[in-house]
Amino acid sequence: MATLEEEQTAKRTLVEMSWDPITRIVGSLGIYTKIDFENREVAECYSTSSIFRGYSIFMKGKDPRDAHFITSRICGICGDNHATCSCYAQQMAYGIRPPAMAEWIINLGEAAEYMFDHNIFQDNLLMVDFCENMVRETNPSVWEKAKKTQAPHAADHGYRTIADIMTALNPFTGEFYRETLHVSRYTREMFCLMEGRHVHPSTLYPGGVGTVPTVQLFTDYLVRLARYAEFMKKVVPLHDDIFDFFYEALPGYEKVGERRIMTGCWGAFNDPDVCDYRYENMSKWGRGMFVTPGVVLDGQLVTTDLVDINLNIRILLGSSFYDDWENEETFVQRDPLGNPVDKRHPWNQTTIPRPQKREIHEGGKYSWVMSPRWLHQGNHLALDTGGGALARLWATALAGMVDIGYIKATGNSVKIFLPKTATKPEVEFEWQVPKWSNAIERNRARTYFQAYAAACAYYFVEKALGELHAGRTQTHTPFEVPEEAIGCGFHEAVRGVLSHHLVIREKKIANYHPYPPTPWNASVRDVYGTPGPYEDSVQNTPIFEENGPENFKGIDIMRAVRSFDPCLPCGVHMYLGPGKTLELMHSPMFGVQHA
């Protein structure tokens, strides 16, 4: 096999190119590649994160009630997802269940977070890669075509041609760019109504919320929600137009950022009617979530069971700056159902940082990100989150369990219903399971999930008002911190799977390991040599950019990476190094020749 590959690669001329930092994402990420310009594809890719902060270390010995305040600070754009997930884990450990009103308030806050975060990322960060300035710089012929292409949904969004949409996306000067920035503000106001502050909430606690439920609270939210629904009736067709245009203008564009369909979703929006936070019942209440948890492998749904999801998480090392914890303490031998818990499971992880020189090559250590994997039939799968939305819609669609009036999962699609708004009639959008897990479909799913979150929020407002009208306004369940306990929380951060694993001893944190989406997506080559999702989706990405190595922007690579909605407040830096032609390659295993 190795010999064969040697022969295949023997004649390739690869140019080493890197982007560090990658901008317009949250955090610090670097992408290092070797590009085959002759065959117009990326041959190798390494992703690196340049920041270590050490949450799992400094949380040890702290009061577990501080955990959600602290872990919120992991992320500056979806910190509230962490705070929420931490409260879920704490509630399991403390054996409590918040009042229904609190759950609806949290769901409304989290729905606002999805609405805000997907919106600002999509149209103020990611879509800059599709704006007039960028397209003219990287693909002048595509720009010429865009000027001549009528937008199929012009009547819905008001932009006559695809080029008009691209111009509206130019940073700061573009009309639609500025509109979305404005939308990102009132959606954050919706969040602040429910959880006090964005991005680190003030009113969220284990056991519920401190928010005072009033008629004013829900009215203030609802009027903004209606404004957002009106906005989404324009945005979904607008994005469909531009994404469909790329498939049409650049045949083969479905290969950009494509990888095997292997997505994970840990579920979002608990239903207070079924969720009691008891581990023993987790399979049941997990399936009651308004976004269904699930792993989709090669287009098939392989599980919707949170216990199954939990037990098969493995944290591998390989190319990261950490020592192994094989000889450290095992905190949890068995889960509350009696199932054995692996040494490489987050409950049993001990984080031992070892800062060292960065060696970006096969077998080298080059990142502060570890390699989370999901064990399935003996294989450690490098699941990705599809930037969050893709995995959520995919699992929800195939599971076919969500049916709340505003949303219906059909088994192969998700129907989203938005009621009448000021100037637009009611609208139904249908997200169809796509053919590929690629850059365009991750981006398209994000837009549809914005609508999904809005539709859910209509439902949550109705449920919350129902509690209010019935006089059930209690928002918090009191608790005592137990001497010893374990807990786990499962949630969807905006960009994908989020889990928090907690071990309490002597009323203090003995172990705490959060696993946000980016460690999954930005993970590096593990001990088995399996690359992480950014790495393998960039590898084999064809190059459509019209620029040569001299003024190469790497736009197709940027689109592949950004489609995952990278969020490495542990660092993503992309830097376009000077093109350097490497010697003829004799094996795919050679090291990077450092300058």
Partner: protein, 353 residues
Amino acid sequence: MAETVPYGMKTQRPPDIPDVHVIWMTGGLGCDGDSVSITAATQPSLEDVLLGAIPGLPRVHLYNPVLAYENGDDFMKYWFRAERGELEPFVLVLEGSIPNEDIKSEGFWAAQGTDPATGQPITIPEWLDRLTPKAAAVVGAGTCATYGGIHAMQGNPTGAMGLADYLGWNFKSKLGIPIVNVPGCPVQPDNFMETFLYLLYQVAGLAPMIPLDDALRPTWLFGKTVHEGCDRAGYYEQGDFANEYGSAKCIVKLGCWGPVVNCNVPKRGWMAGIGGCPNVGGICIGCTMPGFPDKFMPFMDEPPGAKVSSMMSMGYGTLVRGLRRLTNDTVNKEPSWRHRGSQLTTGYRPRTY
């Protein structure tokens, strides 16, 4: 004879400099929450500043990795140009705390960009050493950059610290401006943009030295405590305390540190006057303070100092509350002369009807 100033130009003095550059480093130990936060600001908004909507401002060029159009080298070139003195003047904003890179033999905790000479990442302290002597002003955005914050918590592995811990509390920029700290976890959006605007005016010669307190915070934003601006402070005065989350009363007994924390959030709200902390049911955990987080943990316990003062207010406040309830009952009733019928009882004596 004085030069004729055209109509419409008389009221506006042009800035001393046509352009100002802003190098915003997010590479400290942080979460980028402050960059995200400023996109929520409206007073002024980012686009107000960048598109020149504010009178008197020089043209502002912002280089922030969360918002930049460019990538990689195209983006990092501004850092190198600033170092070579080719971006004059520039304001340096740091986000995230500064790890101690001297406590280990190799590797890095936090870095941004790659050193072309070594192929290794350039650490944040190294960037500060390169850029702070050349900056017109140095600004800390958020509590990590200003004082160390969460990542400088006891037991942390990186030895993280804030700007003044690293540069010295007496540091002055080449324009003679001390470090300007805008703490908050994250920074309140308008607090930052307002301070930023002030500094731009100052660099442009349109405002005097920015007034700062001992912790290098703008005095007009951090001169008062949370409690002094909290709309629940009235409950405290009346000795009326919440004993469960979700109550609309004063939450000091549930862990709120508002009476001793310098911050204007309850008064200003989080954005557009909405949200906040104790004013909307969230305990103040002291996130703007140099002692954050350790001196406020465990967050959900009553602050030790509050026990005494709340006891005193309960004695006095219970009495006051009782008396106010009586008055309140009285003023909740309309005067007796508002009624139907053939008699006028308002006190007016009609002479014509």
